[in-house]
Amino acid sequence: MKLSVSIAGVEFKNPVFTGSGTFNSGREFVEFVDLSKIGAVVVKGVANKPWLGNPSPRIAETYGGMLNSVGLQNLGVDHFIKEDVPFLRRYDTKIVVNLAGKTIEEYCEVADKLRYADVDMLELNISCPNVKEGGVAFGVNAEMAALVTREVKACSKQPLLVKLSPNVTDIVSIAKAVEAAGADGLTMINTLIGMKIDVHKRKPVLANKMGGLSGPAIKPVGIRMVYQAAKEVGIPIIGLGGIMTGEDAIEYLMAGASAIAVGTANLVNPSATMEVLQGIIDYMNLYGVTDIKDLVGVIA
């Protein structure tokens, strides 16, 4: 059975990645899973300097999902290179670094410092607020998404995935614009913006009022967007959004993703990546599928 996938010249032993921000840099999971069995660890967003993040409460439970407003709290790229890269390199897995920034310059500063670091791939999170454009996310329209992709691609050494925001009206035009701007692959989807109100206290549950919705509740949106984008772009897609089981992962592959990532599921079951991988293998055995590639994009 062939589980390995090749994306932008990087060979991953299997198609199961972690969703950025749900796995930190892997340390919290070594008690639960063998990191060497994961296709790639996609680390939590890394910025040019430490970010404090948002006030508490940052988490709210919703039906079949959760809202988070962590606000990309992270210790910055220097700390990441010094502490997390050597740690992750002890395991036989690929390292994908999720880039956070408030300006193109900030993204580029991170990508530039990572030139000399031993990491395999970068993932540009264009759901971050663009401070120069009044805080609207870079990923909300095709022009801005293409601009940030082109600039960051130019200052990156490693292959660049661009992680798309689902909070848009036309995902296909953005996917195409990002491909044309030089992205080596797409990751989709990020969280959907949502809100929850405590009716007894008459106030929002999150201190930040709004947050990103993730978990099984968003899976149909992710499947639809991957399906639409895969029809129109030639670059590979990492599919995520609500994957809890092997069958959820197969659904993303069939919609057109070349690999998948497990996000929120890690939080509620820290061995979720291994269970999803096993579920994929079971499915392939059941239907006599010999190469994972044969499942990709089978839905017309």
Partner: protein
């Protein structure tokens, strides 16, 4: 899957009964948690209903090394704990832990344990493990619980908001009334109580460990969702620490209550 990896444990509920209005005691046999547990740590309980994904963090009230029994005491607060309170003895529940740092214990001397409402449970295992003079001050709205358990290990003072049992007032009122300004302080309870206590220990020049609560996405450090504001020497003057792994127990001096 390899056996040496930690995972969610499915175990049978031995008992799950009400011990006060809206307050339940659940007992479970979980050898791995009982062996590792420290006073002040917590466990995650998971619901069977998958529309409610997130863990319900509950403090370890007591562990019995001989029988491997873990005791939890929880209040019905919202929908999740209401559902858990309906789980019958003999049915399965998923649990993971122990998580968090727990209280730092020192040998001998005087120990002042302060609890409010469902902040009382962790004080039981704590009182059991401490040596020296142990004084407990616990406050409730009206109905009291766990007081008899605590009396096995400590001198116990009770306060109630309505005066139905013990002192009519708050735990801080009791501390002042009995002039209990001595020893190492250990506390767990609602935010307003901890805030008042933080001021009181500062005035009294005592060292205190406060156990905090925050909404959690994972309980083991992965989501960075459960943070508390703490004093820091960085530019901003504050930083965020995770309640689930850096706490739930914090030095009173570092916590910034908003």
């Amino acid at each position: 899957m390899c056996n040496h990896y930690k995972e969610k444990i499915t175990t049978k509920i031995l008992s799950n009964k009400t011990i006060a209005d809206n307050v339940y005691e659940m007992q479970l046999t979980v050898p791995s948690i009982v062996k590792e547990a420290r006073a002040g740590q917590f466990v995650n309980l998971y619901l069977k209903d998958e529309s409610k994904l997130l863990p319900r963090p509950i403090s370890i009230c007591e562990v019995d090394i001989q029988t491997n029994i873990l005791t939890l005491v929880y209040a019905v607060f919202g929908e999740g704990t209401r559902i858990i309170s309906g789980y019958m003895a003999g049915s399965d529940i998923q649990i993971m832990g122990p998580f968090g740092n727990g209280y730092e214990l020192t040998e001998g001397g005087t120990h002042l344990l302060v609890g409010g409402g469902v902040g009382t449970p962790p004080l039981v295992e704590l009182a059991k493990r401490l040596s020296g003079e142990i004084i407990v001050v616990v406050g409730f709205k009206s109905e009291t619980y766990l007081v008899e358990e605590l009396k096995k290990y400590a001198t116990v003072y009770v306060a109630t908001d309505d005066g139905s049992t013990g002192f009519h007032g708050t735990v801080v009122d009791v501390l002042d009334a009995h002039n209990l300004r001595t020893g190492k302080v250990y506390a767990c309870g609602p935010k307003p109580m901890l805030k008042a206590l933080q001021n009181w220990v500062e005035e009294s020049q005592l060292e205190a460990q406060l156990s905090l609560e925050e909404r959690m996405g994972c309980g083991f450090g992965a989501c960075v969702g459960c943070v508390v504001k703490v004093i820091s020497d960085n530019e901003a003057g504050y930083d965020y620490k995770k309640v689930c792994v850096d706490g739930p127990v914090f030095n009173s001096k570092e916590v910034i209550f908003s």
